[in-house]
């Protein structure tokens, strides 16, 4: 077996492993730990320069209370939900259909269309930033949740189609042929035969897309501004006033914002990993 399990290596190697692993772990988690500690510090610690020390007083309850009851955070969180959930539904629903069409039917240009879906994923967002912002402005979707949803659906459908098409290709084709011989209409084959078998793919993709979209910062900043439309990732910065930054509240907000995808990950871990590997292997 390669690599050799650590228990079978020399004592020196084992000692190295045991001492360096916690250090690596600490370095890896340092930013997260810092944010977590920041979120329970009093405001005064930042003005007196106590950035990295222990909190002078424990202000966790007060900070989180402020985030929830005295700021726009709940609104931003709700915006995130209103952006993420429709995007997940839209992108997954569309890609089920495109994936079925591209995976099952042989027609001229099938591969070309498929490649266009895939190629879309390789266009860097930064190139699209200005034209997309102008486009949303012109069709009146700038600074609306709807605009963000539509563009997320458009951009995610490429990847989702790749995923779904490959998944459907891997299903036994005889199932579709058997249904055809039985005289079942194509859309019914899609709905009653293929869709139920796609459940694992749908679950995996939903979790994956949920995390992508919830954590999106780029398009949130480019296409929206203000609490009426911005999701929580962009909204956290509203704790920064013009002359000073409220680091403790931003940290508390960041922790709150990170919770849904993290919770999603732990609840649906199996599907999440399935999603990553399904896309990779097939």
């Amino acid at each position: 077996m390669f690599p050799a399990p650590i228990e079978k290596r020399s004592d020196a190697a084992q000692a190295m492993y045991k001492s360096f692993l916690p250090i690596a772990l600490f370095l890896w988690l340092a930013p997260l730990i810092a944010v977590a500690i920041f979120s329970i510090k009093p405001d005064a610690d930042f003005t007196t320069g106590n950035y990295w020390g222990l909190p002078s007083t424990f202000e966790g309850a007060a900070n989180y209370g402020k985030v929830f009851f005295e700021s726009d955070m709940p609104r931003y969180l709700w915006n995130s939900v209103l952006i993420t959930v429709p995007t997940v539904i839209g992108a997954v629903a569309l890609s089920c259909m495109t994936g079925f069409a591209l995976g099952v039917y042989r027609f001229k240009g099938n591969l070309l269309i498929f490649f266009m879906f895939v190629a879309g994923n390789f266009v860097p967002f930064q190139i699209l930033m200005v034209p997309v912002r102008d486009l949303t402005e012109q069709i009146g979707l700038y600074n609306t949740k709807m605009g963000l949803v539509l563009f997320h659906v458009a951009f995610q459908t490429g990847f989702c189609t790749l995923f779904m098409r490959n998944f459907i290709r891997a299903l036994p084709f005889e199932l579709i042929e058997a249904a055809r011989v039985e005289g079942i209409a194509e859309w019914r084959i899609f709905w009653y035969v293929v869709l139920p078998l796609m459940k694992p793919a749908i679950a995996a993709l939903s979790v994956l897309i949920f995390t992508f979209i919830w954590n999106d910062y780029f398009w949130a900043v480019v296409l929206t501004q203000g609490p009426e439309s911005q999701p929580v990732t962009a909204g956290i910065t509203s704790f920064n006033a013009q002359y000073r930054a409220a680091f403790h509240l931003m940290s508390a907000g960041a922790i709150v914002a990170a919770l849904p995808p993290v919770a999603m990950f732990f609840a649906m871990q199996k599907h999440f990993i399935a999603g990553l590997t399904l896309g990779a292997v097939k």
Partner: protein, 352 residues
């Protein structure tokens, strides 16, 4: 119920032609088996009848209807796949009733037909199970049940028993034969296993490289093959072939160490001829010393002796009775001359 007629049917994939103008008439209620080595086009031909492969040229009729350009759903056929193709997310009952449900049959009727089919196939106790929880043989029975409930004009089987183990295969073979007697519908069955072909068929169609080599009843093909391919393909163990040359007295066959009298019209003197002899028509003569016994397989009632001729050609002889040959022995061969088949060495056609 209705028969199936193929008229000069051709299949091309791009420039490659795989079925070369097949003519075939399967009459109503007949059990027709397509048999041939892999790559001979038997499955393609079946799928063309089903409508799953487009027919490039020619015409396919089911009963009086021309179905050449119809969708599979409009042809009135039911198909059983090698991989069963059961819907994994439905129970046995739902699997069997799915086609009827989707085509808008009332619930009562579906339940009745499913119950009827499950009785025929002894699936009653499994109706609520998912395919995953069934054995291979049960899955295949469900697949057959799914075909039965729709009451199709023609049943199509695409190597339905290939995924089963030997014992189950025999059992299912008997079951399919019984089913055909009970239902009496036209059935087309594809297999590469000639035992299935021989035991099930009313009519066997031997295919090679997209052409029909011969059509006929099982024993007709066995006793009266048209060419060397059919002679070698039908029968197990296969027919022995040894090379001979036409002479004044008949055919000189060094591989048999004798000259064979031929009651057929032979080509001109000196031309090559293949002589075919079935293992059960050869007799071992312990007094002779022309052939060496390489190996004997004793199966109980019969033994198969593998012989090497003086020319190096291999022959298989079937032995019955108490005296069996032993490995390494030197023996001779005898046979009744009228049992020998003669084939042209170049065209492989039977000489009659």
């Amino acid at each position: 119920m209705s028969g199936v007629t193929l008229n000069k049917v051709i299949k091309r994939y791009g420039d490659v032609q795989v079925i070369h103008g097949v003519d075939l008439e399967i009459i109503d209620g007949e059990f027709c088996v397509f048999v041939g080595p892999s790559g001979c086009g038997k499955s393609t031909l079946l799928r063309m009848v089903a409508g799953l492969e487009e027919t490039s040229e020619g015409q396919i009729n089911i009963g009086p209807r021309d179905v050449t350009r119809l969708d599979p759903s409009e042809r009135g056929v039911a198909m059983v796949f090698q991989t069963y193709a059961l819907y994994p997310h439905m129970s046995v009952e739902e699997n069997m009733g799915f086609g009827l449900k989707m085509t808008g049959h009332p619930k009562e009727e579906i339940r009745e037909k499913v119950a009827q089919a499950s009785k025929i196939l002894k699936l009653d106790e499994y109706l609520s199970r998912k395919p995953k929880a069934l054995s291979g043989g049960q899955r295949q029975r469900v697949a057959i049940g799914r075909a039965i409930v729709r009451g199709p004009e023609v049943f199509l089987f695409d190597e339905p028993l290939s995924n089963l183990d030997a014992e189950l295969r025999v059992e299912m073979r008997v079951e399919i034969a019984r089913l055909h007697q009970e239902i009496g519908a036209t059935m087309i069955y594809v297999t590469h296993d000639q035992v299935e072909a021989m035991t099930l068929a009313d009519k066997i169609v031997v295919l090679r490289l997209g052409n029909i080599e011969q059509v006929g009843a099982p024993l007709e093909l066995y006793r009266d093959p048209d060419n060397k391919f059919v002679a070698g393909f039908i029968g197990s163990p296969a027919m022995n072939f040894v090379e001979g040359t036409v002479s004044d007295a008949g055919v000189d066959v060094p591989g048999l160490a004798q000259t064979v009298q031929a009651a057929v019209s032979l080509p001109s003197k000196g031309s090559g001829v293949s002589v075919g002899l079935r293992p059960e028509h050869l007799l071992i003569d312990p007094a002779g010393d022309t052939h060496t016994v390489e190996l004997t397989e004793a199966l109980g009632g019969v033994s198969y002796a593998y012989l090497t001729a003086p020319t190096g050609e291999k022959l298989i002889v079937e032995e019955r009775g108490d005296e069996r040959s032993v490995t390494g022995a030197k023996v001779g061969l005898t046979f009744e001359p009228h049992r020998a088949y003669f084939f042209d060495a170049t065209t492989e056609a039977r000489l009659r």
